[in-house]
Symmetry: C3
Subunit: 216 residues, 3 copies
């Protein structure tokens, strides 16, 4: 795992970065590393290429239909973990950000999105695949009311400027500057007391975490 | 019930369009028709004249004081039904929109309001008539926090521009163009899978629906 | 307690205005007086000097460590009382507004903040002092989602303009005009029926009040 001073940089990969079980395990191992680190720290999650993450690994699911329930529970557990992670977190959304990949970005404290290309999109309604109760609670817990409603019921694709206007992301950055902007946002937060921060987030999102961990 | 392509147009009427029991029955019959229709569909609710709806039928209630509880329960059931309706819904608010009439508009996915005339207003505080728990949950579930607070505790009358600025409505349109704007907003959404959309909305607003159906 | 027509003006004091038990008792006595008053009324809470309120009285707590739990419960009870107070309430935030002092301002219906000086800040994360469940519910119940998240997880200090942009306060006013602006905002609301207003706020914030009164 790379570091830039106090900022740990989790790299999701250079392809569609869907949540194959191996990738989930790798992300969790990185989170373990950050969580175990004793000292000032912040986490930036990024990727390279056209995609931040395209979400659920539908190919793998097609081959393992019997594991749908445990797989979705694993994804929801990751979302809950990031949501209340005991360190400041920033998503550097340099590319397309769809479905559970968009939810992973929403689970971070802050989001920087590439200005000129790439979409934030929750395509579940068009896929005939309703959000689990936990995923619905996550999106509704992080977005303003009518923004959550539009995103979840229409599958609208938000470009960077639209996503910033709707407060889905906190800021946009030019191509090639997304990661740097995320690191600069995260760096001054690295000194926050980790345990306190984890407790604050856990209390703020107790209901969301419960819904994500209960499955649906 | 009129249709414009895939868009069903529910007409509330040409007077104050208060929720007389007969009007509630007519609205529910129209919703039944849309719900039973198998194919691409969206619902636009509109009216003609000075009012979209003035809400509870206080004249009828004055004549039937013993039926207050069941009547309010019927109105709340309608609000819950529209809130999680298994099709895209748009309110074409061409005129005054008060009390439970305003809540009916808020239960739709989107709202277009006439720009130059007509008010959105929750006058309950001035009438000495507190919101039921379900109605409070509906308003708070659809409006931003301080907007809900102001609307519910002061009875402020929002004209079109103010309502759009406060995100009470999604857009405004000129006189005579409100219905057309609502239909154009609804039309591209008509292809969304109805059952999935209903499930998504039901999960998003499970608590609001529970509060509306429990009565108060 | 001073009055300006129908508006009662609660003066928090001229120092840091931390919540010493004696100050809590004095505030509650003033609220009793307003609550008992039968007639048009509104409440403006203000202070003089550099501070609106700096929150918990850490000096007193240092001398009475055994009373931490009952003291915090008393502060939470005050926040719950103001949140659902049966009269319109406006905070005239003329100076620094930190921690539980900021929460007291958030418990009011509206807030006017001095434009050019003074900060709104929740420093809990930096103090290693997580919000109680009730305090978290209060802040999250009054601020937009990402605003609450940023304020609670970063301890950001918001000046007047930033606080207004984030909708933490409803408006700003120039030095020396904050109290007058708050009184002018409160005055036309003084005629709202007190009992109805109290019931409306109690239903809107039933969960927040429960969390504040349960302690944590």
């Amino acid at each position: 795992m790379q570091r830039d001073g106090d900022v740990f940089i989790l790299d999701l990969g250079a392809d569609e970065n869907r949540f194959h079980p191996d990738r989930l395990a790798a992300i969790n191992a990185s989170l373990d590393e950050v969580e175990a680190f004793d000292g000032p720290k912040a986490l930036v999650t990024s990727a390279t290429g056209k995609f931040f993450s395209n979400g659920l690994d539908t190919d793998w699911l097609g081959e393992h239909p019997d594991q749908w329930q445990t797989y979705v529970a694993d994804v929801e557990a990751l979302l809950a973990r990031v949501l209340v992670f005991p360190a400041p977190t920033v998503a550097a959304v340099q590319g397309h950000n769809f479905g559970a990949g968009a939810m992973l970005a929403l689970a971070h404290d802050f989001r920087i999105m590439r200005a000129d290309r790439g979409y934030f999109c929750l395509p579940e309604v068009d896929l005939g695949l309703p959000f689990t109760a936990g995923m619905a609670a996550l999106v509704q817990g992080r977005l303003e009311k009518q923004t959550a409603h539009e995103a979840m019921t229409t599958g609208r694709r938000y470009g960077g400027a639209d996503a910033a206007a709707a407060r889905i992301v906190d800021a946009v950055a030019d191509e090639g500057k997304v990661l740097a902007a995320a690191v600069e946002l995260a760096r001054p937060l690295a000194g926050k007391p980790a345990e306190t921060l984890g407790t604050i987030k856990s209390r703020m999102y107790a209901e969301v975490v419960r819904a994500l961990r209960d499955g649906a």
